[in-house]
């Protein structure tokens, strides 16, 4: 099933002669259940692409269909609804709320949905269990290590059972061991059926995905499946 379909998707900043074309006529599609890495050097437009695919930004021209729905025509509140129900984000700098418990951090996306708090906590506990942090529920986010913080962020991204998880340089601020743990969780989630879109500039990280879309100067110059896919599980064994 095609989940994401982009056709001549473009994004410009500025207007008139000062216009900067950040994304130029991208056309591609992503199926449900894929694990795609969008890879490119900084300034290539990969983050902008992720923001558009994740409903944080709007496209300038072209077409973006999500699950058959035309995203280009949606208003602010409808985009917020899409973010709330369809996608989860993992950021390079974790973006946890300070002085807030692990549990409350994971709950955050649910606050903009219609359940009761009791239901939220139940879901949050399940999500934190997924990332192996059940023992840290009532710790404050400031007391966690970088790896643990990123795992809380993954739990937060998972909690709404989104159609896609976007991970923007999720290992960028982590040591290699914590980074591997994060990649391992993402690979497991993918094997359990989650669609994952990873944005990175590192070849090594990208090779944990099943497919790599390479972007340079706002254009796709390669889109191919990964031949020798790295498995975080196995690498972890090696580092032990």
């Amino acid at each position: 099933m095609v989940l994401i379909k982009a056709k001549n998707l473009s994004k410009n900043y500025g207007s008139g002669e000062a216009v900067t074309r950040v994304l130029k006529d991208l056309t591609f599609s992503i199926e449900a259940g894929e694990f795609v890495a969008i890879m490119g050097p900084s300034g290539s437009g990969k983050s902008t692409l992720m923001h558009i695919l994740g409903f944080l930004d709007t496209l300038s021209s072209g077409e973006y269909l999500f699950n058959g729905k035309n995203v280009g025509v949606l208003g602010d509140d409808e985009l917020a609804d899409m973010r709330s129900t369809q996608v989860g984000f993992v950021f390079q700098s974790f973006n946890l709320l300070p002085r807030t418990t692990v549990l409350d951090n994971a709950i955050l996306p649910l606050m903009y949905t219609k359940d009761s708090r009791l239901e939220w906590e139940k879901k949050a506990k399940v999500a934190l269990e997924e990332v192996g942090l059940s023992h840290r529920l009532n710790h404050f986010s400031d007391q966690l290590s970088g790896g643990e913080k990123q795992r809380v962020a993954i739990a937060r991204a998972l909690i709404n059972k989104p159609a896609v998880i976007f991970a923007d340089e999720p290992t960028g601020n982590l040591d290699s061991k914590s980074g591997l743990q994060v990649m391992k969780i993402l690979q497991r989630l993918n094997s359990e059926g989650s669609t994952i879109i990873l944005v990175t500039h590192e070849k090594y990280t990208a090779e944990h995905a099943k497919r790599i879309i390479r972007i340079r100067d706002g254009q796709i110059f390669a889109d191919e499946s990964v031949k020798d896919r790295l498995l975080a599980d196995a690498s972890e064994e090696l580092t032990k």
Binding site: H51, L56, D76, D81, S84, L97, M111, Y112, S116
Partner: protein, 434 residues
């Protein structure tokens, strides 16, 4: 719309939406509480303006009411069978201008005498008054004291008693005798237990012979009635003040039911005395004690309102303080706002969050202000009562209710600008903000 109403799921959905909205607010309050608790010092500092503002308003309302009670109690203590005569015309139902300290010289010593000479069976006595304050000298001892120039009839009008010696007579009064009767405290201050009767004191270089000392009467209003000296009215006018008018008169009526009749009688006599034919050109005001009470209540109410209005400025200043702090908080929490938007918060959700936070701050500030304000009001009333003033502790539910709703209102008004600014942040830029 009618089609909507007919849909089977319209009402249940609507009820569910309302419930959800309520839960949203409940949750916002819960979150706001957590965030404020996490920043205790700053939350308290931002509340401070509201705490002080509400506290001052409550104290001023309470102290104003207490001071009012002090003045009104004084009038009540004189009894309701009294009629007051003040110089100058009063507006309909309003207070006579003499209350505001304007000096009017239309009332004369002879006016009081005329009322008694023409005579009304229900008017028992009429006393006229002038007042002054000066240094009283006895030997080497000096004290600053009020002197009251009055008529011999004051004893009957005010129901006061002489402790020892005697009060001056009407003959002494007419003859401008240089005699004085001391209040009990003045006697103590000047004579330290020595017998003052027959001794001579000096007021404005005039020698007076002391002929009596009054029984203690206690503090009434702001006036310590035991710390004053009574001298015959003509003596005070000519020798001490150099005036020929009087400040006011009081008449005592035998029973409350004849008060109104007596007022008309006094007006007629005074018009005759002053050759006034048209009541519109009256140059005096005759009021029963109750009417005087009502007029004075009006004046003091206006003063209380004015004071409370001045105090409310403190609340507005507190509101701007909170707005400032919330604007800083929006700046500081840009990244959090970006994150919340990224996980699905709508603009309205962000607006609500910051508004609820501001209102929570002002509401708790208001609560603390009410508590401190009440405690200090109770303290002030206690101190005043201990000092012997007839000061009532007045706390109105209205002032407490007003203070809490005003503090919520301030949160809403001053919270809206920061909340709107937060909700308009672009999520991507907000997430990148460092």
């Amino acid at each position: 719309m009618p089609m909507n109403l007919l849909k089977t799921d319209y009402w249940p959905t609507r009820a569910k939406n309302l419930q959800n909205r309520f839960m949203n607010y409940l949750n916002s309050v819960h979150c706001a509480g957590k965030i404020l608790a996490a920043n205790k010092a700053r939350s308290f500092l931002s509340m401070l303006g509201i705490i002080i503002g509400v506290m001052v308003v409550i104290i001023i309302i309470s102290v104003g009411a207490g001071a009012q009670s002090l003045i009104l109690n004084q009038i009540k203590s004189l009894g309701s069978n009294l009629i007051g005569v003040l110089p100058g015309k009063s507006e309909e139902k309003g207070p006579p201008v003499a209350v505001f300290g304007v000096v009017i010289t239309t009332l004369k010593y002879e006016d009081g005498k005329a009322i008694m000479n023409i005579g009304n069976p229900h008017i028992l006595a009429v006393a006229s008054y002038v007042r002054g304050i000066d240094t009283i000298v006895y030997g080497d001892t000096k004290t600053d004291t009020n002197f009251v120039g009055t008529t011999a009839s004051v004893i009957d009008v005010e129901d006061s008693k002489v402790e020892y010696g005697r009060f001056f007579s009407e003959d002494e009064e007419r003859a401008m005798a240089r005699v004085a009767v001391l209040g009990s405290q003045t006697a103590d201050d000047l004579f330290f237990g020595e017998d003052p009767i027959g001794k001579q004191i000096k007021i404005k270089k005039t020698l007076f012979t002391i002929i009596g000392v009054m029984k203690p009467r206690g503090v009434s209003g702001f006036q310590n009635q035991d710390d004053q000296i009574y001298v015959p009215l003509p003596t005070a006018q000519k020798l001490l003040l150099g005036i020929d008018h009087i400040s006011f008169m009081r008449a005592k009526v035998d029973s409350a039911e004849y008060v109104n009749g007596s007022i008309e009688f006094i007006k007629d006599v005074l018009r005759e005395q002053h050759s006034i034919t048209n009541p519109d050109s009256d140059d005096f005001t005759v009021q029963s004690a109750n009417e005087g009470l009502a007029a004075l209540t009006k004046v003091t109410n206006a003063l209380r309102f004015f004071l409370a209005a001045v105090a409310s400025i403190a609340l507005v200043v507190g509101g701007f303080g909170i707005m400032n702090i919330m604007l800083a908080a929006v700046q500081e929490r840009t990244k959090e706002i970006g994150l919340r938007k990224a996980v699905g918060a709508k603009n309205a959700d962000i607006t609500r969050q910051f508004l609820v936070e501001t209102v929570t701050i002002t509401f708790f500030g208001g609560m603390l202000g009410i508590i401190f304000g009440l405690l200090i009001s109770i303290l002030i009333a206690g101190v005043a009562q201990n000092m012997g003033y007839k000061w009532d502790l007045v706390i109105t539910y209205a002032s407490v209710f007003l203070a809490s709703s005003v503090s919520i209102g301030i949160g809403l008004i001053f919270g809206i600008v920061p909340a709107r600014r937060a909700s308009r942040l672009n999520p991507i830029e907000a997430l990148r903000y460092e």
